[in-house]
């Protein structure tokens, strides 16, 4: 079996065994379920930023598009979980195509600003249409609506396994992309888009496709988050939720399949433990991030790949 496949299956097996063997406390089980879904969001972000080299500051738009599409369809239209997730995937794909088409008319810093602006429009729209979205306060998806094939997704154990399944699906999509010719062209575009163009690749189409895949995975993660944790709120559409995946990817290693998971675990527990020590926990978080950046500027997994294991995808 290929080394890269063994690595990812092993990582997933560890996450499975931690639950099966009852090693997790309830607290960490809940944390990890959340981390896995958020890491799936990070995987989506990584495809655009880590592989294609496009830095978006508006990915909260895609995450919240999925979150609200599934949440609202369950809340207002009584959709079942399967229907709401399919709808969320469709809407995320549509929105990311549209945003991609418009935002790709710009490059570099302008691209960052344009994506940020679109994301802000989405955030303000959520607040403006409060009668439907319940604005800032958000809404809860009732436990009775969170049943999927007679599985109660509000049950912490089922929720953990579901989160693991969602994350596994996303990283295998990512792994497949990373190993495909398509993925290699994305990396080529990241490295030198002029050269990729002069090799005959339609760079704009590849970038657009990358945004659509990235946005759709992010939307899927958003939809799953709402359903698994039963809450849909405007805070998920704020700029912070565009910055988080960027941090997870940077810390874990941009352009590595498991990087977003490593980054999300690191960030989540760093904030968790630092906030136990002091109210000014952001100082500890900031210093820690500075240290990671200084000593592992390719991210934790990225640095390991660069120094020792070149085969890590």
């Amino acid at each position: 079996m290929r080394k890269d496949l063994i690595l990812h299956l092993s990582a997933l097996s560890v996450l499975l065994l931690l639950e099966l063997l009852g090693i997790f406390s309830d607290y960490h089980q809940g944390n990890f379920a959340r981390i896995l879904v958020l890491a799936a969001y990070g995987v989506g972000y990584n495809i655009l930023f880590g592989y294609t080299g496009l830095l978006s500051l508006g990915h909260a738009l895609f995450f919240s598009a999925g979150l609200y599409a599934s949440g609202l369809s369950v809340y207002h239209l009584d959709y079942d979980i399967g229907q709401s997730i399919i709808l969320a995937i469709g809407i995320s794909a549509f929105i990311s195509s549209l945003i991609g088409f418009l935002a790709l008319r710009t490059i570099g810093v302008s691209f960052m600003i344009v994506t940020l602006m679109f994301s802000q429009i989405a955030y303000l729209s959520i607040l403006y249409f409060g009668s439907i979205t319940r604005g800032d306060e958000g809404f809860v998806i009732q436990q009775s609506s969170r049943i999927f094939f007679s599985l109660d997704l509000s049950n912490p154990t089922i929720r953990y396994y579901s989160a693991l399944l969602i994350f596994s699906l996303c990283i295998f999509i990512n792994l497949w992309i990373a190993k495909s010719s398509f993925g290699r062209v994305l990396v080529a575009i990241r490295e030198n888009s002029d050269r990729a163009l002069m090799l005959g690749y339609n760079v704009q189409s590849y970038k657009l496709l990358s945004i659509i895949i990235s946005g759709t995975i992010s939307g899927f993660a958003g939809a799953c988050y709402g359903i698994l944790f039963g809450y849909v709120g405007a805070s998920f559409a704020t700029v912070s939720y565009s910055i988080f995946p960027l941090l997870w990817v940077l810390i874990g290693g941009a352009g590595t399949v498991l990087g977003p998971l490593v980054g999300a675990i690191f960030m989540f527990y760093l904030i968790d433990y630092a906030s136990d020590i002091t109210d000014a926990y952001m100082i500890i978080v900031g210093v820690s991030l500075l240290i990671v950046t200084l000593f592992a500027r390719r991210g934790l997994l990225g640095e390991l790949r660069y120094r020792f294991f070149k085969w890590i995808p």
Binding site: V185, V187, A188, E191, R195, L197, M198, L199, Y201
Partner: protein, 238 residues
């Protein structure tokens, strides 16, 4: 004589204005199949702008480009490249974080894995980089990076290969090898070479076109260009 069948690429009144300055002015240019053509001229003559217009990196202000009898003026870069125009940059432009073989493999679109592997080996053998096949291209010497760029151009199997100052930074030995290589590939590929090294130009070019202030001031074989007073004036001044 340039019979129409023999012409690979030609331009009609090709012009590029940059805010009123004519970088390329009304150029009518022809290049035949399997020819090695050198495009020379003093700095700022418009050579790179001209070849960028040919492959579509820059949009022309006026004029047309025909390739293999087809008007390609309106076509985007990637389509022109897919039709058989290869281009290597004046400043080394490779994928520094990828290995040598990955760089060359990227030049091979729509090929199966095995086919890619064999072409990569064949091309790297040709340019003398086969022993560096798994090396990160960013770790290669400058000369080797230039050769890798050339290898990527050759791997595309273009009908027309545009080389923008390919010998810049190469050692004497590498230049000698480069000349042999270009001679060899010209049996199947037409080469348009922008070059400042006159030794290279004089030893491999079949024909020379001289550009000055965006216009063709002379065109012909080596001897006629060497003797041409207009060319001498352009290079040496009054």
């Amino acid at each position: 004589m340039d019979s129409l069948n023999n012409i690979l690429l030609y331009t009609e009144n090709l012009t590029k204005n940059f805010q009123g300055i004519k970088a390329v002015n009304d150029i009518n240019f022809k290049i035949n199949h399997n020819e090695i053509r050198a495009l020379i001229g003093p700095n700022g003559a418009g050579k790179t702008t001209f070849v960028s217009l040919l492959c579509g990196r820059i949009k022309a202000s006026k004029g047309k480009v025909f390739f293999n009898g087809v008007n390609i003026s309106h076509l985007p870069v990637y389509t022109r490249i897919s039709m058989g125009i290869g281009y290597t940059f004046q400043i080394t432009s490779i994928f520094f974080n990828l290995t040598v073989s990955e760089n060359v493999a990227l030049a091979l679109k729509n090929k199966r894995q095995e086919e890619k592997k064999s072409i990569v080996s064949e091309v790297l053998n040709k340019v003398g980089l086969i022993d560096r096949i798994n090396q990160r291209s960013g770790d290669l010497s400058y000369g080797h990076q230039r050769l890798l760029e050339l290898a990527m151009g050759i791997a595309q199997r273009p009908k027309l290969l545009i080389l923008d100052e390919p010998t810049q930074g190469l050692s004497d030995l590498e230049i000698e090898n480069f000349k042999k290589l270009i001679k060899k590939i010209s049996a199947t590929v037409t080469v348009l070479l922008i070059e400042h090294n006159m030794d290279v130009v004089m030893s491999i070019a079949d024909k020379i076109t001289v550009l000055h202030f965006g216009e063709i001031i002379a065109e012909g074989d080596k001897k006629s260009i060497q003797r041409n007073p207009v060319v001498q004036k352009a290079y040496l001044g009054d």
